[in-house]
């Protein structure tokens, strides 16, 4: 809301200190977005164009001799409307115009120019009227040498308030005046409008056929003379951000700004009946609005009709057919209340937000409809020679009832933690101009309709803000509670710490993705969830997997010459029945490298597998199995990928990106992994983990190497060994895998077997026997031979 300070000052017997006003608003009411001079140009003067001749070398330029009071200046002017004997606005050499442009003495095609004759646009404001004529011409009464800004009543400041949704009362100068008076503890001068009415009867009758309009006053006025508004009125509209049009339209806007009650003026002679009927629009009904657009209406829009067809879109925009124009003689002035929700829906559907609709949307005080209308009548009589014809026709279904809110001092103090006295509260309620009765420690407050309130909480807010938030003491809740992270939250932190410790960098990517990316890497058969109103196709679906986002991060960084990319993310994936927290990992390049020592090693599947296994060990996830997937994993290399299962349940996958995928992004050797964190957290049994006794007996280690066919896996060998030697075999470690042409389709696998007993020292012979048995079974199970 933009507020003219001249206008606001009219309510007080003194001019308000601007700096204090800004401070008070910021700390007690609404944030001040700015307080600026309406026209921030110094040194302008009124000039009298004494004489004028065409520039010899330029047809469109005039050489003017201008009397500026204390001197006569030769000024070149390019405006087509400049003429001799005009009173004009002159910027002399040295004046800084809007846009920080300092005027200099100039020679234009050989002729000296000592200043500039200005348009209003050159002063940084909108023009006062519609026509783009060029320079702005002042009235004949303007005196050369004097300040044109004062003459035009533009010597004003604009207070720009950022309003919150609960303070629609501040959408009017009166509302701002009420709050100002309260905050600054000033008297408020509220004058009632004075209207002189002709005794003849108002010819219009008003009806409604919808509950969505509770109040409608219609007043006819005759003998209207359409002309420009006076300067003071125009400049106040400009200060509040509304462009002046003509006296009738300006007055409706002026009253709307003052009262917050939008008004509308129809050209009464263009209405084809004496009956105004307010109703809901019919489906597909149309109206030509003031902006010349043909609007298609829907049921639910509210329209003002002449009994047959719509003549205005209620609260949103008038109809072109009944528009005020220069020849208008009789007008019908409307002051009404419409359902805020309906107005909002219509305005947003038609993209027709206006000063009027935005006020109706937020709720207009229904008890000043008539007063606003009367004030407009007073102004029209004075500035448009209008004759007010009789009393307004109307309907009004609003029952007068002031809301009563009870607030006890005890409640106030127990909510705020401050000790307000009766005197403080009384003083503030008086300043708010709320009527109240005090009984015991209870304030029974009558809430005026201009300040809609719901409960005592609203009243507490009023008292606290006016008394000052800075007075509230600083304490801490005394109720003892036990805080902390739950197991899941702790585990998530542990996972992040684990990866960071391993050299991985955490990413944060968007949940919304394109349809294609949302289901990439996805093994589920459900569809990705779609957003009804997406911003772009790229952000239309909720992702099933985080990996496409991590691949984007890879491509982004790789194209910026970052070679080693080890990243992870913890985030949700979204499915029709639930949201799953996932952990995604991507590895590419080298981890722990040392260039000059030539010990760098590119990451491979086993890095990823090891990383994952160590994490599972840290999280105490029991009995996990990393195995070949029974079906091909989407977008992964079928020979270099695996699934992770725990207790028979698949909870994730890992592997190398499919060569086709790698080709597509132009990056080779990319390893990825994705797990369901929900499952992982459920399975981890950290809390039930029991300590195992450390044996005091020595272990015996034996190395063996076996030759097996190429398709025998390490897992096959290990399970055969495990099956054979259960009791005393403590660990198996594969320390070499060797392929060679000479081995003809076979490979050699070398293992260290460690034997240990928890209750005795093992004998060599016993271990030898075990080794024999193991080899025997390896031969039987896998046709493995001892390599000598």
């Amino acid at each position: 809301m933009k507020v003219s300070l001249n206008w606001l000052n009219q309510y007080f017997d003194q001019n308000i200190d601007k700096d204090v006003l800004v401070k008070k608003f910021n700390l007690m009411s609404q944030e001040v977005a700015g307080l600026n001079k309406l026209i921030d140009i110094d040194g302008l003067v009124i000039g009298h164009v004494k004489s004028l001749k065409k520039h010899e070398d330029a047809d469109k330029l005039s050489v003017c001799l201008v009397d500026v009071g204390d001197e006569e200046l030769q000024i070149i002017c390019g405006a087509p409307n400049v003429a001799a004997d005009q009173k004009v606005i002159v910027a002399k050499v040295g004046v800084v115009l809007s846009g920080n442009f300092r005027l200099k003495k100039a020679k234009i095609r050989g002729v000296e120019s000592n200043g500039m004759i200005c348009s209003l646009a050159e002063l940084g404001i909108q023009e006062f009227d519609n026509e783009e004529k060029g320079i702005y011409v002042l009235g004949f009464d303007a005196i050369p040498g004097e300040d044109p800004i004062k003459y035009l009543h533009l010597d004003d400041y604009v207070l720009d308030l950022d309003l919150t949704a609960n303070r629609s009362d501040l959408l009017s100068i009166r509302g701002v005046a009420y709050d100002t008076a309260c905050m600054m503890n000033l008297n408020l001068d509220l004058a009632e409008p004075r209207v002189t009415r002709e005794t003849s009867e108002n010819p219009v009758s008003i009806f409604t056929q919808t509950k969505n309009s509770t109040v409608y006053y219609g007043q006819t006025l005759e003998n209207v003379e359409i002309k420009d508004s006076p300067y003071w009125l125009k400049s106040r509209l400009l200060a509040c951000g509304i462009r002046p049009i003509n006296n009738v339209v300006d007055i409706t806007n002026y009253v709307m700004l003052e009262y917050g009650q939008p008004l509308h003026a129809f050209d009464y002679d263009k209405i084809q009946s004496d009956r105004i009927i307010v109703r809901e629009a019919l489906e597909n009904e149309t109206i030509l609005t003031l902006d010349g657009e043909k609007r298609k209406l829907v049921a639910g829009d509210i329209v003002i009709t002449d009994g047959k067809k719509p003549i205005a879109l209620a609260g949103v925009m008038g109809g072109l057919e009944t528009e005020i124009d220069d020849s208008t003689k009789r007008i019908l002035l409307e002051s009404a209340i419409f359902n805020p929700v309906k107005i909002r829906k219509t305005a947003s559907r038609l993209n027709l937000k206006s000063e009027s609709s935005s006020r109706f949307e937020k709720g207009v005080d229904p008890y000043q409809t008539l007063e606003a209308l009367n004030y407009a009548c007073e102004l029209l009589a004075e500035y448009a020679n209008a004759i007010v014809v009789g009393l307004p026709s109307y309907y009004n279904t609003v029952k007068i009832k002031n809301k009563i809110i009870n607030l006890s001092l005890e409640k106030l103090n127990s909510v705020t933690g401050y000790s307000y006295s009766e005197e403080i509260v009384e003083d503030i309620l008086k300043r708010l101009r709320f009527k109240f009765k005090l009984k015991g420690d209870n304030f029974k407050v009558s809430i005026p309709s201009r300040r809609p309130m719901e409960s005592y909480q609203d009243l507490i807010e009023e008292i606290v803000r006016i008394h000052g938030y800075d007075k509230i003491p600083l304490t801490i809740p005394i109720t003892p509670t036990q805080g902390g992270l739950n197991r899941k939250q702790k585990t998530k932190r542990a996972i992040r710490n684990y990866f960071v410790g391993r050299g991985f960098t955490e990413t944060k990517t968007y949940s919304l993705a394109s349809q294609e990316a949302a289901i990439k890497f996805d093994q589920s058969t459900t569809k990705a969830i779609r957003i009804m109103n997406p911003l772009t196709k790229e952000r239309e679906y909720l992702r099933h997997s985080l990996l496409p986002s991590l691949l984007n991060v890879l491509v982004y960084n790789k194209s910026r010459k970052i070679e080693n990319i080890m990243i992870f993310e913890l985030a949700n994936a979204y499915f029709e029945d639930n949201e799953i927290e996932k952990l995604a990992i991507l590895m590419h390049g080298k981890l722990d490298f040392s260039t000059w020592q030539k010990q760098d090693q590119s990451v491979d599947f086993y890095h990823l597998k090891g990383l994952l296994e160590t994490l599972l060990k840290q999280l105490k996830v029991p009995d996990y199995i990393i195995s070949v997937s029974p079906k091909e994993l989407p977008n992964l290399h079928p020979g270099i990928s695996a699934i992770l299962s725990v207790k028979g349940k698949v909870i994730g996958f890992l592997g190398k990106l499919h060569p086709e995928e790698e080709h597509e992004i132009g990056i080779k050797d990319v390893y990825v992994c994705e797990l369901s964190l929900n499952e992982l957290l459920n399975l981890s049994d950290e809390n039930t983990h029991l300590y195992q006794e450390i044996t005091k007996y020595p272990s015996i280690k034996r190395d063996i190497a076996v030759l097996v066919k190429n398709d025998i896996t390490a897992e096959d060998i290990i399970s055969s060994i495990n099956k054979t030697s259960k009791k005393i075999l403590n660990s198996i470690d594969i320390f070499d895998v060797y392929f060679d042409k000479t081995l003809s389709n076979k490979k050699s696998i070398a293992l260290t077997l460690e034997f240990l007993s928890s209750n005795r020292t093992l004998e060599t012979k016993e271990v030898d026997n075990q080794i024999d048995k193991i080899l025997e079974n390896l031969k039987l199970d896998l046709n493995a031979e001892l390599r000598s």
Binding site: A165, E461, T479, I529
Partner: protein, 341 residues
Amino acid sequence: MEQKLKKITSLATEAIKNCKTINELLDIKAMYLGKKSEFNDLMQDLKNLSSDQKPLFGKIINEAKQEISALIDEQKQIIDSQKINDLLKSQTIDISLPGKNLALGHKHILTKTIEEIEDVFVGLGYEIKEGPEIETDLYNFEMLNLPKDHPAREMQDSFYITEDLLLRTHTSPVQVRSLLENAAQKPLKIICPGVVYRKDDDDLTHSHQFMQIEALVVDEKATLADLKGTLLLVAKKLFGENREIRLRPSYFPFTEPSVEVDVSCFKCNGSGCPMCKNTGWIEILGAGMVNNNVLKAAGYDPMKFQGFALGMGIERVAMLKHGIEDIRLLYTNDLRFNSQF
């Protein structure tokens, strides 16, 4: 004989002192003290002496032998330590070459900021609560005093999935869920961090996806003063011990009264700078006393219970603290950015 002994001793001393290796030293030892050494010859010569001279010369020879033996031991030590010194010298490396590049990982700055804020509140006895990002209209709006036609819904343009399902626009629905969960209506002190969404085009200061953290206290006596004290404590923990706070009236449908909270500028200490737009204050969060309608919707009797809530954008806190001017940097994952934290 004495002459001979002197000569041998002096020769031996000379040889030992010039000796450089252990092997040489052993040879010298054999030569002078071994069975076929000249000392041995001298010992043989003793037999030819008279019995009164024997002890005298025997003593002299033994003394000479001991002298030589000591010299050998001494030289051995010299040779040994020389050997160790040579070895150490040969093993000396260029310690100025770069150390091995053990990869260093980084938590995301948003994670770090959340954990920092969580730790402050956990220290004050708050529990951490989380909830789904796909929410119902009921939890995201209606139970938070934002009925269907409430104008404030426009403040939060939302991504809808169905008429009744949307991506949550704030973490407040977690508060609703926590209130409902707390069937025994015990005092509740929680914080709710999480991802939220608004239908905004991404630019310098807007992101369609961002993170929030909210705190909620509901009991029989939590006051506005408690809120203010809590806010000051949090501001000090996050932005430094010397911070002050300022409350200004604001509006949120779920709190009444509602306030915006400013913290004194941590760059200029309140004297005014570009960071605080010369006001000395920086807006960091919104807060207020829980609106009775929210308590009622969750089954709490507002005549018995009251409380406060506060909420802040994690991005804003992180950006303010680290001087980040473009919110999109937080979601671009340029590793040159992510690895700075």
